[in-house]
Every structure is written in C-alpha cells, then in structure tokens.
Amino acid sequence: MPSPLCSSGARSDGPSDAATRACSRPPTGCGGLADPATVNETVRVRVVQLLSVAALLVAWEAVARAGWVDPLFVPAPSAVARALGRIGAAALAGLGETLLKAAIAYVLAVVIGVGGGILLGSVRPLRQAVNPFVIALYGMPKILVLPWIMLFLGFGATPAVVYATIHGVFPILVLVTGAVRDVDATLVTVARAFGARRWQLYWKVVLPAIVPTVLAGMRLGVVFCLLGVLVVEMFAGLRGMGYVLSSLANGFQAPELFAATALVSAASIVIVLSLDALNDRLSQWRGDLR
C-alpha cells in the first residue's frame, strides 16, 4: 500500500506551500510489514531500477563512442569516471567548503524556523497578521535580493550563510506554524483537564506532536540551504562547489563538470536519505501515517 506523497491539506495558500507539502516524502513501498507478494514486488522493483540505470549508462557510452554526440558537450560515462579521479580532491575540497557554510546556515534556519513557527502557531492574531508577509516572501525568488545582500555584506562566507539561512527558514517556518496550529485540540483539552500548566502543554503535548513536521521541514531545509549556498557561490565566484561547477562550465571541461555534478548530487542524496532514516526511527509511533 503506497504511502501518499503529499501530506494531505486541501487548503492552498501559496505556490510554495504546495511545493513544500508535495515533496517532503519520497514514495516508498508499504511500510514495515512484508508479506510475500510485497517482497516479490520489491525484488522486481529493484531489478527494474538497476536494469534501467545500467541500460542508460551502456546506451550513453555507446552513443558517445559512436561519435553521434559532440564529446565537448556530452562526454562518455567512462570519460566522466576518469575525470572524477582527476578532479576528485579539488571537488571534495570545494564540496567541504559548501557543506560547511550550508551547515551553519542550516542550524540558524532550524532555530529561527522552529522557534518562529512555534511562536506564530501559538499566537493567533500575530500569525494572521504576519501570514501574508510570510507567504509573499516565501513565494518570491530570493535571488532578486541577493545582489542587495552582497552590497551590504560584501564577498565571503557571510553573505552565503545569510542568504542560505533565508532560503532555508521559510519552509521550516511555514510547516512548523501549520503543525502547531493544527495540534489536535482534544489532546490539549485532555492535558488541561489533567491540570497541565502552560509550559507543560508545550513541553508534553505541542512539541511531541509537531516532531514529524519538524523533521519534514528539516529535510526540506537541508536542500534549500544547500541550494542557497551554491547560488551565492555561482553568482559571486566564492570558493566552494558552486564556483567549481561554474568555472568547469566556463572552461568547457564537460567530463570534469559531469563528475563534479554527480559528486555533489550524490552527497545531497546521501544527506537527505540519512535524514529520512532518522525520521523513520523517531516516528515509529506513527506507523504507516506519514
């Protein structure tokens, strides 16, 4: 039984809201329980996946060797693999730079996003007043303000971290606000009936209730923060993976570029999948509900 991609929500209050909701979980198979039919299917799925990837690589290699495509633009997989060996060290160094900045931005984004989300979710007039601003800012391509940020903060890691934080804050803020607002009212009533004081309500009911959403937001936040750092590096030529990629492109070094792209893609996928695994461990009580 496939789990739904979108966490359901009939209201649509902004384009980015839907994007946030639509893509916070990859479609996996049935959760947990493996009956024989499902196991069989999983095997077939894996086979299809592996065969497809292998077929693609083989066809690509054949096409490249036959000379049907200009190797300047579309290098063969074998060339890409060799290039990876050549630039590996430099690319990893750049990746490290980027990841470091992204990590700092990420911590800031999570703190501000979760804190702000709890505040907005709890105080209704504030939330309603601020909502249009948040939606407007969320939907705006933030790259439009990047030049201005750079005017203020110059070059270097600071504008990258600031920009990436802004990028990452919004999905987390929006998700956490919604989760706090939507905490099951019955649970709050129950806690009040048992004499919970205000801080106990937050600590024992609201916070545990919003953990799944916080994790979903954190998953999105990783991609957004990384994206923010890369954009600044490409725009301003800062040290890091963004610069590595754009200078390889400018130098028409296609195999190296593909290799570097593959590297950063792999890193990103690994990070996100790890977060997913963490999410699963912490969400055992939810079972199939995602």
Binding site: L151, L226, F235
Partner: protein, 250 residues
C-alpha cells in the same frame, strides 16, 4: 477584519519602511537606497529612460517562462501518468525521481549552460527542469489519493478502463493536479529568473545583474519591483485558474 491584525501589519510596514528610509538617508548612498529614492528610479524605469529596451527584456523573460512551463506541463503530465498508471513503473522510478528532487536544482545549471550556452535555451531548460518535478509529483499524488471505491462503483456500472479513467480518476485528481500546476509555474518562473541572474545576456535577470554590477542601486530596486510584479501577476493568474478548478470539483 480584526483591528488587532490590521494594527500589527501597519506596525510591521511602518517599522520596516521607516527604518529603511532613515538608514537610507544617513548612510552610504550607494548601498542604502531609501524608498524615497527608489520611487523616482521606478518612474525612470517605467518611462524607459534608464533602460530603453526594457520591454524587449521583459518580453524575453516572459517568453522563456511560457516555453519552459509548457514543456514542463507536457513532460510532467506524461511522466506523472506513466508512473501513476502502471504500478511497477511507478514504484520503480518514483523513488529515483524523488531522490533527484533531493538534489538542489542549481547544480544542474552549469551543465545546462555548457550545453545550451548563455542564450534563452539554457534558461528555458532550467525553468523546465524546476517546473517538471512538482507537476509530476502532483500527478502521482493525485492518482494515488483517488478513492478506489469510486472506481469499483464505476466498474459496477459497466465502465471500461478508459471511461473510468476519464470520468472518475481525472475529475477526482483534478484538485491536486491543479495545485501542482500552480507550483510548477512558480518554480518555472524561479528557474528562468535564477538562470538569467546567474549568467545571461538578456532578460530581466540580466538587467538586474547589470544594475548591480554598476552600483546603480536605485535602478536595481526598480527592476526588482517590476520583476516582482511580473511574478505576482503570473501567480495571480494561476490562482484564479486554481479557484475555477476548485469550483468544478466541489
């Protein structure tokens, strides 16, 4: 509307614009351009004084967005239905798609620039790439959330596969689909603009880059405002169509 809410919003706007104005007048004029200086710049822009070929660039950006979006719709619907209708295909390629979505899209851009150059084609390609994912995912999600009981009912009334799809599945998933189309538009727009800012010779993004490079800060702000209007306008149109679709499905 609640008085408290209006008050809070007014306070936010006043504090933001006010401090911006104050800082703008007292500090480095190249950087801290106050709103009062931005407005005449906007006027110069709209009367085509600061950038005479503004309209050309605006139209180019619009064209890029439309083409990217049209392609994203076509590919997104195609891929979405292909993955959604066949269970094995969906389960095999769905996770691959989602894994790709976990990669920040901008990493593909240098490759696109290498392949397509600095012209409109790379911006269209990037906008397409960004817009394609949410549409595909929305199609998948939409198909999955169709109540299977509805299909059972249709079959019981003698509908065959195609008819059931047309008369049950499509209407039932329309709402989710339209939401995805709206998101796809927003992301296609972002893709095109980011592409232009990061490297292009024409289009609104390139003008913004140009103004920034020459420290023409008031003009830069005016360009941003015009671009924002473009974006908000396109989203407003999309929202209108989405509400139309909502009325049909309820």
């Amino acid at each position: 509307m609640n008085k408290q809410i209006v008050l809070i919003r007014a306070v936010i706007l006043i504090v933001t614009l006010g401090s911006w104005e104050i800082v703008g007048r007292t500090a480095n004029p190249a950087l801290y351009v106050p709103p009062s200086a931005a407005i005449p710049a906007l006027g110069r822009l709209l009367t085509l004084h600061s950038y005479p070929d503004l309209l050309e660039h605006l139209l180019l950006t619009l064209r890029e967005i439309l083409v990217a979006y049209a392609m994203a719709i076509a590919a997104g619907l195609g891929a979405g239905f292909a993955l959604g209708v066949n269970r094995l295909v969906g389960r095999a390629y769905g996770p691959i798609l989602a894994a790709l979505y976990a990669v920040p899209a901008v990493v593909w851009y240098p490759s696109l620039m290498l392949f397509f150059g600095l012209d409109a084609a790379s911006k269209i390609a990037f906008g397409f790439l960004l817009g394609f994912f949410p549409i595909t995912l929305a199609v998948l999600a939409g198909i999955r959330q169709v109540n299977p009981q509805l299909l059972v009912v249709a079959r019981a009334f003698g509908a065959d596969g195609v008819t059931a799809f047309r008369k049950v599945t499509l209407p039932a998933m329309l709402f989710t689909l339209v939401g995805g189309l709206r998101t796809g538009l927003a992301l296609a727009v972002i893709g095109v603009i980011v592409g232009e800012v990061l490297g292009s010779k024409s289009g609104m993004g390139s003008l913004i880059n140009h103004a920034y490079g020459l420290f023409r800060t008031p003009d830069y702000i005016a360009l941003v405002v015009v671009t924002l209007i473009l974006i908000v306008g396109s989203d407003a149109v999309a929202a209108l169509l989405e509400r139309r679709a909502q009325r049909w499905t309820e």
